[in-house]
Symmetry: C2
Subunit: 199 residues, 2 copies
């Protein structure tokens, strides 16, 4: 998988410059308002070089996203190691909202990419999904969370939060989504909520 060849010193430097500038532009939310060529210039690199390192906008985004996700996964692991399962899950989800809130531009960018070509980001997402799945599984194991809903549902809810981040009352609503999910995850309680599954 990561059988990448050594990469010349020169090249690594340019690549780093591109990533650094990309992170900056991401956070400013200007990723899509910028001509891709201009972005190259902005990073002090020729167009050709940009395209060599990142063949598409999405590839560049994926690279940034990757580090982002790695950080979040670390956090999930730390929480899981130091808190009871249910609290770890709650803390993680609350933290996600904080994180998105603190990096609005990045959230906007990623939401767009997700919707556009979710395939390209799927690999990065997988790690995040795994982290959430682990958190939920642990809580199910110790009986604090119901076992009849898929962790994917939590991912979907998170996705909704990220994708809708430009709503006026975003922060409050996002917190409410988490509240609903966490309360909904408590064991039992399915009276008015049977899916009318057809065939």
């Amino acid at each position: 998988m990561t059988a990448d060849k050594p990469l010349r010193a020169d090249a690594r430097r340019k690549r780093e410059a591109l990533l650094a500038k990309a992170r900056e532009v991401f956070d400013a939310g200007e990723f899509f308002d910028l001509r891709f060529d201009d972005f190259a210039r902005l990073a002090g690199v020729g167009t050709g070089t940009l395209y060599r390192h990142f063949p598409t906008r999405e590839a560049l985004a994926e690279a940034v996203y990757h580090e982002e996700v790695a950080g979040l996964c670390d956090r999930a692991r730390r929480l899981q190691a130091t808190l009871p399962a249910a609290e770890a899950l709650a803390a993680f989800l609350r933290g996600m909202v904080d994180h998105i809130d603190a990096h609005t531009g990045l959230a906007r960018t990623l939401a767009t990419l997700m919707a556009d070509r979710s395939g390209d980001l799927a690999e990065g997402s997988r790690a995040l999904e795994q982290a959430v799945t682990d958190l939920v599984a642990a809580a199910v194991r110790d009986g604090t969370v119901r076992d009849d809903v898929d962790a994917g549902a939590v991912l979907m809810a998170l996705h909704g939060i990220g994708a809708a981040h430009d709503r006026p009352g975003w922060r409050a609503e996002a917190d409410d989504v988490i509240t609903l999910v966490l309360d909904g995850l408590r064991r039992g309680r399915t009276e008015m909520a049977q899916p009318a599954r057809r065939n």
Copy 2:
């Protein structure tokens, strides 16, 4: 608002043709794989005519989306008139999943547009939002649903469902999201779910 001038017979016909073809292409999920010019040809119309009626892709989408939303709002009103508030809400949300499931291409298209330029669809969305808000408000009024979460949170969750519609286990996960939301909406239950709001 709708102070549109009469529109010539000819023009109306073309416009209708465009909308019909658009709906078709939407449902097939090919909306973004098609050159906009080619779409005009496909609908049997010149490029100029296409652009006159719908200045942008988004404008065209908005028109299709508008009818879509009108149908959903009707449904919400009917449910609200014939069922107890909580059941109406549940039925509506379950029905949304069915609807999206039955119109995958459309869901994909709308999700993309939402993320890209949510501003353009905001007007259409507003009607849907109002419908959900009404359903929730009624359920809050008769005491079956908690009053401390915003209806916007439900919208966000729905958004997540729509946006993630290409996940492998979509249907089951979508049902689970609704289950979580509905169970979470039941009164009380906030022990492990306090938002750690900062300032």
